[in-house]
Symmetry: C2
Subunit: 298 residues, 2 copies
């Protein structure tokens, strides 16, 4: 490829940038970044890229445009570049929800231009270009959204692109995507936020200083609950329907658990706790985590 534009150069955008350079995927990388703070960080970090200024002349020449900004910034960013977009340009994003966004974008997108969503399953609780690295996507899944009206040529090129970046590819439609990630990612984050909020409320109510004893479990949730608030608000709102269904299923199970504890149904509790252990084994078999015990990080 010749030219790539990355819109939003935080943790993910700057990692794409670094990976593209390292793997020599494109000759020139442009960025569009509205945060002055991020721009000054990018300069300090000496990340090889050019801040796009001449939209009219540069946008039509892009081989690929990747939206790496928050979901709630998509429309504003699209507005800036929309009329200059070229049919040949592969346009994608890395957002964590797909269905609603895709519907919204399709309505706004310049006629004849294709939007082919991606979702590399990589990230961290930290934000900003200073935390990005070229190996962030190595051996991670990247979901490509394939639907009836998808541009097959663009899909094929995206497949190649993400593989070069380091990903394993899986295809699904936007509804499947949002169902699955409501459970494997959105619900866990929401629950982590909720458990930390519950601990805070409890601390207030009891006036007991409990945060200092968080090494027994709370600590791990607090790390997840320290993730970027804009990103996660956007995720929760743009996958509302599936997340509410996931919460309902979760609460139903939690109430059953509570009942088993309440009536001291030892067998049922053991059955539950053994079942979940099997999932862990599967996760390790599927290389989604390492099989090393965790004693807390020192």
């Amino acid at each position: 490829m010749n030219k790539i534009l990355i819109i939003g150069c935080g943790l993910i955008g700057s990692s794409v940038l670094r990976a593209v350079h390292k793997k020599k995927i494109a000759k020139k990388i442009f960025i569009l970044e509205k945060s002055k703070n991020n721009i000054s960080k990018i300069k300090k970090l000496n990340l090889k890229c050019q801040i796009i200024k001449d939209f009219k002349n540069e946008i039509p020449k892009m081989d690929m445009i990747i939206f790496c900004t928050h979901l709630s910034n998509y429309e504003e960013a699209l507005k800036k570049i929309n009329k200059f977009l070229n049919k040949k340009t592969i346009i994608t994003d890395v957002g964590s929800t797909k269905n609603l966004i895709l519907q919204k974008i399709r309505k706004k997108l310049k006629k004849g231009v294709f939007w082919t969503p991606s979702h590399p399953i990589a990230g961290s609780e930290v934000s900003g270009p200073e935390f990005g690295h070229s190996n962030l996507f190595k051996n991670k899944w990247c979901v490509l959204i394939k639907e009836k009206n998808s541009n097959k040529k663009h899909l094929k090129k995206l497949n190649k692109f993400w593989k070069k970046v380091g990903c394993k590819i899986v295809m699904m439609n936007s509804q499947q995507h949002d169902h699955i990630f409501a459970i494997t990612s959105h619900l866990p984050h929401l629950i982590a936020y909720n458990i930390v909020k519950t601990a805070l409320d409890f601390e207030k109510k009891r006036k007991s200083n409990l945060i200092k004893f968080s090494a027994g479990g709370l600590r791990d949730f607090s790390r997840i609950a320290a993730s970027n608030e804009i990103m996660w608000r956007d995720v929760f709102l743009s996958n509302k329907k599936n997340i509410i269904l996931a919460i309902n299923l979760f609460v139903k199970n939690l109430n059953a658990f509570k009942r088993d504890i309440s009536i001291k149904n030892s067998n049922k509790i053991i059955k539950k706790l053994t079942l979940t252990k099997k999932v862990r084994k599967k996760i390790i078999q599927l290389k989604q985590d390492v099989n090393l015990p965790d004693f807390g990080r020192n």
Copy 2:
């Protein structure tokens, strides 16, 4: 000290054993272990200790006895040694719940003998003596249970003991302990089990293979949900009242969260997600976790 007896030599018991040797806290360590599997592991690991056999002659000579077995094994183990117990022997445990157990034990315990509970906040999702190590307790909190009728001399000696093992000491009564750890440890574990159970149910219902996409959050919960099922059943049942209160508070907060998502109350969501970030900062300030981003363990 001269002689210590460790009852139950799994992850925690074998770590106490290793730390006692390393810090030269006692001359001789005895173990009482009912699992043949653990005994053969201990022999293979060449852990320096003697399996106690002559209860009548050895038990009265112990300077300290530490119950490191599952809460549900306490009564059975106590029955074996009770009549040989010596008033001077410091008797403690490392169990994760205190109030109910203390009440039960006090009823059974030989007259004049003291039971002074400890709870070092250390562990992992793995079990067994092969995972123990002498530094498991280093810089970790150890709660000592102090109540009106506690033996001050034994408390003082336990304070010294756990400090030598590597712990920082905090004193509280058994009710305070069970309140606090219901929130910081028991609820997080229960929630982790419940989220993995919910993912399993969802996978079954939708027939979608979602476990392989667990790197987006579920993975971290699955590690916690792989903890020992006997230990956690015992914890849930022996701190029933506090855990049910914690679940109720958690569900109340979760329903409020659901409502905010449902009516798209963006401000309230952002407020929640920012608040929990502050807890993370506090946890790091309190040295309960390291300030290093987590990108998944490779």
